[in-house]
Amino acid sequence: MSASVRSMSLTFCRAARVAFRAFNPATRPLSTGYCLRTEIRPAGGSRDIIESTEEFRFVERLIPPSRIPAPPKHDGPAPSGWTPPSDTPPSLPYMIRRSRMHNVPVYSDIKHGNQHSTLIRKIEGDIWALNKEVKEFLLGLTGKDPPTQVNEITGSIRVKGQFDKELKDWLLNKGF
């Protein structure tokens, strides 16, 4: 990984200097280093070589962005199944934010191969009200009252059992 990153940075630096490489090794340009975007003719040198930084835009468009883009506007679910959050937050005592990739923060977890649990993260506001509603919803779904663990400090609820799809759809219907 570090080798590939290093080679990537080396190729980047090499690509940045592509405009400065002389074709003929015998006649090198007199000025080295990074110049502004101008065409420079080396003073007193041979007239065959022109330094130009106009081609650097081909390198610049390859540099990746660092920010996650906002998703395009969809009314209702997108063809992939992704649903945008509602424009106005629902008027409930709690709020569940989307993850940085704009998904509902419900995750399923397995420990020791047989212990399934579901985690709801990024909860703000009255977490106990959400806990009560989750318990009522899962009681109606399965007929059993699932144990839950509420972590007020991190704003997360862990439910015993694998309910990530059901909880995701339930939260999407609420408008989160």
């Binding site: 990537m8 940075s9 660092s66 424009d87 400090i153």
Partner: protein
Amino acid sequence: MFRATLAICGRTVVKRQFISSVSGESALPPNLRLPPNLIGVAAEKRPPPSGSDLPVVRRCEADVPAHLTPAQTWLESLGSRDSDQLGVVDLHPDVFSVPIRLDILHAVEVWQRNFKRISYANVKTRAEVRGGGRKPWQQKRTGRARHGSIRSPLWRGGGIIHGPRGPTSYYYMLPMKVRVQGLKIALSAKLAQDYLHIVDSLEIPTPDPQYLQDLVKHRQWGDSVLIVDVGEEFPQNILKATEDLKTVNIIPALGLNVHSLLKHESLVLTLEAVKFLEKKLLWHDVRYTPLYPFKLPYSDLP
């Protein structure tokens, strides 16, 4: 407390106590000097700027989430002693109103203290102490205890068994997002405890340190003040004024850290520093995981 004791004393005193509470004077003697951070004696609190008529001088550049409202605070000035409440400033809630996680704050503070630490303590083991290759006396018949070398750990001047060995590094890195969250929590704590002051610029009329100290005392900012601005150049007056002061310090915005925020009682930010901090700290909420280190160029770094 003082008023309660007066009321208990007698009905004749009630009228005087009533007048003093109506007029707003404190019943404490006038020559009593209290430290500004004394618990139990409330500092004169300004009303929060939510219901004021002053215009909002600065709005948040980044988008505020729909379910949150920006935190508001007063805009002040260092130009004269009495110029606070010049306007109202909006602060982004994801930087200045995050839930206060003391465990993250503790972790970041401990990390800041220890990651730079290299302990140079080193002691010699019995192999490294000079001498001790020969058996001091024969094994049997001398009447003394049996020994193999004069530098064994049992001997005076001998080697140490499990002592500190060589320069030890205590370097470790907390995840970048944890350190960023620590900064956000420290800023939110300063705002919540009324220790955050926003200033339009750092121009002061004189390079006299006494002016700054009078200002801090008059406005009850606390024992120590940390002044933060963006950029490498500061006005000469404020540099000269804070040069010899131990409790009032000035740093660039890149140098803001949790330890300094906890060490100084109150924090003074300029408007550009607020903009810079919001931009840098909010970027971490919307960035990708790094494809290559962020020291190398990306197309849209903050």
